[in-house]
Symmetry: C2
Subunit: 622 residues, 2 copies
């Protein structure tokens, strides 16, 4: 049996010959080594060095056949690499192929043959015939200026034309024609409108490349932290208009940042694909959201017809086509159909998968290629850093991982992009909660034991708190602490998620064993350590290799739909197939939620790996 | 054999029992009795009185079984009745059924069922489902304000909604939603854009009734009488814009007249359907028309995509949908496909028919349900009264029929709507030319014989002219005359039409006998006497009952397409099936044209009925 030593942790494992390095790492107790693409060899992010080999290898694809020394990467560097390409976590086979893009709006470079006495089709007909080569006969429309320019354009440059073509469910629309084959690339925008965080991405519609990604807190936060409070606020037309303006201001601010960074004129952005939950979509469009939370919980619209940027108030090309990811119902919106597009549900997998989008609303989808069921729970914005004293988004300066040693007195953390910490983000909070619990600094209900980590337990506004960084260590010059109130908040959040997961599982008559894969989506997800999340009872206690992080899949889905007709079709199909199960009206939900308000859970049998760790600790202690 | 006496002419005929009255009238030498609908009993316009019966009967449907005295109507009263309903000349079976209208834009009065926990479709989906009951599943779009009003509207008035829905080739578009079932009727506009005359009709989209019809000269006339001269004028962008504004001013003037007459706000007009020849369509849209007359004679567009009124500059609802009748090529435009819609070509007739639209351009279509061929000839605007000294449109004050007796010294005429004559319109010109020729006042080349009607032959600007009305008799206080130059002009026009007809017939390998029906379209057509038109050699010498006047069929077709999806479909099918034959490049055309520059023709054998009349006259004279 080969023997593998992992550096710099200096831990070892004996494994059968042929075991992949990442499994050997698990055997050695290393839970750090993440496989963002789930071990498909797709993302290239699990690179490790094998001492004696020239080039790094992939831990997921390299098998141990003899004794090895393996050097693991610095986790913060991995995170930085991931940040560089926000869609790297998705199986590339699920993203649009870059050589056959069919974006919502694209520049087609075609050559219109000259007319002759024999073939005297009109200029417009000859143009349509060329466009049809790309899509077969569909209805083609245009606005008048296109026709006015057509005769001259079709007769210049040997019939070479650059034709801006929009695609919609009902057909094609020519938005402009230019003589010659333009070398300029058309631009598009993908947006995830989260309740707490809005992410926008500038995309090259010609080659699919991401030109920039920016995130910001949704300015609506000042009028309510969650969708319910915003729906309530929006009851008056003036308040609805205020919320509409706030989210548009947020998106337009991101557009400006993205455009300035290149730089490019935002009016060159020709198409946008937006994904958001049903309330966010309604508020962005100025649609009264009140019926979303009044029985029978029916929104104005799930599948928003295509609109123009100027109708919405998006500061891009006023005539840009704007599409929305289709929603399923009041509590399962376009962000979820968009996210599920980043799983292999819509392709060819008969296995049952679980999709969890952990944002301010936790949405959970379970299904396979035959059936799909979705539910939602109000998780709250804690994991997005909101409602937590020192919380922040997963952005530069955020503590994204914590390690506590030395009886709770020693603390190490990694900060996104390095430097002094400015706060702590979702993955950091999960890591911290896991470490506090693992090290016995907090009890199963989240209260501090005075005995452990005592020097870091401080008094903060009348309640106990854990000192993450002193004023001197922190960017703000103030202590960074996590309070007992913060911990309660986090426990409520993880309890809501776990309760919803376990209830929907029961609803479809399955047990955890049946789940072949768990997709974890959410802005924080990609830095999160699954082992920590299981340890605190947020994620089910399944083998680590079944988990796959897919990051902000709502944004990635919007990116894919922006670029590909096939992905738009799949997204519509996902929305059509998905069944919504209402949790709020299920009396069992509250029961399960209350049981989950412990670390990891009231019922330890549901977390055998955590129970085993407790046992081993007690054995070691005795 | 029953014996019929016709009053007031006091002529008689013996006819076999069972002969229809209109055939008996022909036997008695009466060519006046017109059957606008061709003897189908459809139009009700051939009413005659039978002495001894209480109610009038239809000459086409009433058979002679015993001796009768029949009183014929005053022709000018018939014309007035026809003016009252501009579509009365069309077989009602070819017009949209008023109880199942599917206009380009309509108000659907639907009831959206409330949502429930079980059936929690969004408001928009429930709306679409109701709309789909009317059309099956199609793509439905809308603009944002519709969505913003939807939630409240769907929940008021028990879900009763009035939904303004536009139909297009690509699907449906909801333009507005209003709570409750509106009792107001939606308005639409049908327009025939002729080179010389523009006709517009205000239509009730809910019940198909015509609320008014107005015609005016196309203001572009000041920049050229025919399409060729306007195409030449439009070579500069400024001139193109000038022509565009002139025709828009013409149409908008008609819209204002129509709207003021009701009165109604023109901004309530929700949809428009326009038919025009290819050049008129291009000029109305501001599309450079130059390639229409440059080889290979290819227009920018034949099938204009649906546009909005504000794009075009039509002063109706800015968001009104505007559709155009599809054309076939540079010289067979939407006015022809629109006109052919008023024949039974598109329904179920295997007989060969000939369709002639005699406007400034003469367009001729020949075909049956299997094949359709079209050609065009430049007839000139003479029959629209333009280019003729005292010519005018078929409007109030126009002489529409002339009778010359007493060796050419006695003249009678009928004036549209009575009173003093203001000029002479197309049907009056044909009637006059026929009478001048029949009475021997002009010779076969159109020159005046001094011997006949001498007192009416006057000198006018150095050439001979025929005095129609003296200054005292005329509305203008000036002599109304027809000059030799006018007669030459009319002969050139009729020659162009006949030459094109006979050449296209030869092209398809048929002789006149094969033509089961001749449809005559054109603004002047409905007042024209077929016998006169045959007598001068404009129409082929076929039995009178084969001719059918269909009036301004371009306008009627636009009216039908405005109101009916099926008619829009048929129109598109007609355009797709029609083959264009270029006459201008056919060397035989000029030969035939020159041969037709006589009355009725160089070759009298082509006009046996006229030759017979000559013979009988000579016999009577000898």
């Amino acid at each position: 049996m080969p023997f593998v030593r992992f550096q710099p942790a200096n831990v070892v494992a004996d494994v059968p010959s042929g075991t992949p390095i990442h499994i050997a790492a698990l055997r050695a107790g290393i839970l750090d080594l993440e496989l963002p693409c789930g071990g498909e060899g797709a993302c290239g992010l699990c690179q490790v060095e094998v001492v004696g080999l020239d080039a790094p290898v992939l831990a997921c694809k390299t098998r141990v056949t003899s004794d090895l020394v393996v050097r693991l990467p610095d986790p913060s560097q991995t995170a930085a690499r991931v940040l560089g390409d926000s869609h790297a976590l998705i199986d590339p086979g699920l993203l649009p192929g870059r050589d056959c893009l069919t974006p919502l709006c694209r520049d087609l470079r075609i050559t219109v043959p000259p007319a002759s006495i024999e073939e005297h089709y009109s200029d417009w007909t000859r143009l349509i015939r060329e466009l049809s080569r790309n899509r077969g006969a569909v209805s083609v429309t245009c606005q008048l200026p296109v026709l006015r320019q057509l005769a001259a354009a079709a007769r210049a440059a040997g019939g070479q034309l650059t034709v801006g073509v929009e695609e919609s469910a009902s057909g094609q629309r020519v938005r402009d024609v230019r003589s010659g084959h333009s070398t300029a690339h058309a631009l598009g925008l993908a947006v995830d409108i989260g309740t707490t965080t809005v992410a926008a991405q500038l995309v090259d519609l010609d080659d699919g490349s991401v030109l920039g990604t920016q995130t910001a807190y949704n300015m609506q936060i000042r009028r309510g932290a969650d969708v319910i409070s915003r729906i309530d606020y929006a009851r008056s037309p003036e308040h609805l208009e205020e919320l509409r303006c706030l989210v548009l201001e947020t998106i337009n601010g991101l557009v400006e940042l993205l455009a300035n960074a290149l730089p490019v004129d935002p009016r060159n952005i020709r198409a946008a694909f937006l994904a958001g939950n049903t309330t966010m979509t309604h508020l962005a469009l100025g649609l009264p959201p009140r019926y979303i939370r009044e029985s029978p919980y029916v929104p104005t619209v799930n599948s928003v017809p295509e609109l123009r940027a100027q109708e919405i108030g998006l500061n891009i090309d006023p005539q840009a086509i704007v599409a929305f990811a289709p929603g399923v119902g009041s509590y399962v919106g376009g962000d979820i159909t968009s996210g599920v597009l980043c799983t292999d549900l819509s392709t060819s997998n008969h296995d049952v998968f679980l999709f969890m989008d952990i944002g301010t609303n936790g949405e959970i989808v379970i299904g396979n290629t035959d059936w799909v069921v979705a539910c939602a729970c109000s998780a709250g914005p804690a994991f997005e850093g909101a409602g937590i004293k020192c919380g922040m988004r997963a952005d530069e300066g955020a503590i994204e991982r914590v390690a506590i040693g030395g009886d709770g007195e020693q603390l190490e953390y990694s900060v996104i992009h390095g430097g002094k910490p400015a706060g702590i983000c979702g993955s950091g909070l999960i890591s911290l909660l896991g470490e506090l619990f693992r090290q016995g600094i907090i009890d199963r209900s989240g209260r501090f034991f005075k005995s452990r980590g005592a020097s870091r337990i401080v008094e903060h506004q009348g309640r106990r708190a854990f000192l993450l960084a002193t004023a001197g260590q922190a960017r703000s010059g103030k202590d960074l602490v996590i309070t007992e109130a913060d911990i309660e908040n986090l426990i409520r959040t993880k309890a809501a998620i776990y309760a919803a997961c376990s209830l929907i599982l029961e609803n479809v008559g399955l047990t955890w064993d049946a789940i072949a894969r768990v997709y974890i989506a959410g802005g924080f997800g990609r830095y999160m350590r699954v082992a920590d999340a299981i340890f605190i009872g947020m994620l089910p206690d399944l083998p680590l290799e079944r988990f796959r992080f897919i990051g902000n899949s709502s944004l990635t889905g919007a990116y894919s739909a922006l670029l590909s007709r096939e992905h738009r079709r799949r997204m519509a199909e996902i929305a059509a197939r998905m069944t919504y199960v209402d949790m709020s009206s299920n009396p069992q939900y509250m029961d399960r939620y209350v049981k989950a308000l412990f670390l990891p859970h009231t019922d330890l049998e549901q977390f055998p790996s955590v129970a085993a760790a407790f046992k081993s600790r007690r054995r070691n202690a005795s």
